[in-house]
Structure formats: structure tokens, C-alpha cells
Subunit: 104 residues, 2 copies
Amino acid sequence: MAKQSSPDIDEVIKALAHPVRRQMLEWLKTPQKSFPSQVHSFELGVCAGKINEKAQLSQSTISAHLATLQRAGLITPRKVGQWIFYSRNEDLIGKFLARINSEL
Amino acid sequence: MAKQSSPDIDEVIKALAHPVRRQMLEWLKTPQKSFPSQVHSFELGVCAGKINEKAQLSQSTISAHLATLQRAGLITPRKVGQWIFYSRNEDLIGKFLARINSEL
DNA sequence: TTGCAATATCGTCATATCTCGATATATAAT
DNA sequence: ATTATATATCGAGATATGACGATATTGCAA
């Protein structure tokens, strides 16, 4: 499962080159711990609004950061009604780490 | 040996977030192979001028990229007369990889 | 001292990134 | 239909980055 094209190293590293986006990825490692106020199930991930609350930045800025992470393939969105839930794409993250470990 | 302060993840990732700089690091993995025209010994690393030749960018641009890599701790300069030789700082690179593997 | 070679620094311009508020879009609820 | 909520997109301003040529600096050589 999780058929995933291999990571575009350049895009991934650029996405990681911002502390807010790294912070988001870190939060998403432990959703229940990082977002205790989320009422929805964590099945599909963390609600964008919750990430927005936690990061002290405007809604549009958070949306842009999430879009950057998504374009790089680092997170996966799941739309449910009016919400979008995000989760880490562990498959791609793993592949990225493997490549950077061998290439760097 | 190679007493090395731990990497500043943010600075390291930003330094890696440019293809030219990643390319330089890659070249420095196999100096003899990547810089066959260097007449100096490879003991101390690769001469800045050789890196300059190989990368198709102006001298000032290359100097800036090398400075960025150096500030991040990824490469180590050794000045010998009028030359500066650069080599990878494997110690810091290893520590960086260890941290990104566990934090990401 | 004068001159040459290697590298760094400066000033400038172009482009990218970050952030915001305002507005648009989509879905849900009434 | 209207309204409310969640998210995306737009436009603008501020700052950062990348590139260059010109010039400064450093060290060696004559």
C-alpha cells in the first residue's frame, strides 16, 4: 500500500528548510499528544484548523505551509466534508531519509 | 578527534537547500575522481579554484556558496599560502544525519 | 617594490519566500 | 435560500537569497 513516487529531493529539502514546517511535521508524529483538543477521530489525521490554532500564524500562512509540505509529498490530505485532515506520509519520509543518508 | 559542536539543524538544512551546494558536497566525497586536474595533494582537501572551475558559476558566487557550507559546518577550510582547501566535515554530517533520522 | 594569482567582499539587480488581510470557494446547517 | 464554518487563493509589502562584475585583500614571486 501507499504507492508513492520517489521523493523529489530538492523539493523535499526546500520544504524542510523552514522551522514552522518542520515543527508541523513533528507535531504530526504524535497527533493525540500534540492536538489534545481535536474532537474528530485521529484516523484520518489532524484537522488543518487545529494546526492553525497551534501555530501562531494567520490562516492563510498556515494554508500555504501545508500546501508546501503537501507538494513535497511529506503530508497527505484527506478531505471530509468541510475539513481537511493531514497526516505524515511516512512512506515518502522514509524514502527521503534513505536517499539523504546515502547521498549526503 | 574532530571535536565538533553539534549541528545547527536549521542552518544545515538551509545550506543543503540549494542544488549547487549539494553538488559540491557530493563532489567532495570523491575528490580524486571529481577533480582529476588538481595538482596539489588531496591531503587537505580540494582547492577552491578547482571547485570554481567545475561549477559553472562566477568566482564570487562560488565563494559565497562555500562560505554558506562552511558556516553550517558542513565543510572545513584549510588555508595554505594563497590557496584554500575544502573537505567535508564528516563528523558534523554524521551528526546531522543522526539527528534528522530521529527527528524527522 | 611591483606584479600576479587566489579568494573575499561589496554593490546591485532579479527573483523567491514569508507574511498578512481580504476575498473566494466549498460544504454544512438552518 | 441564507448563513456559518473551513480552507484556498489573491494581491501586496517586507525580507532573504542568488547571481553578477568590480574591487579589495592576501600571499607569493620576480
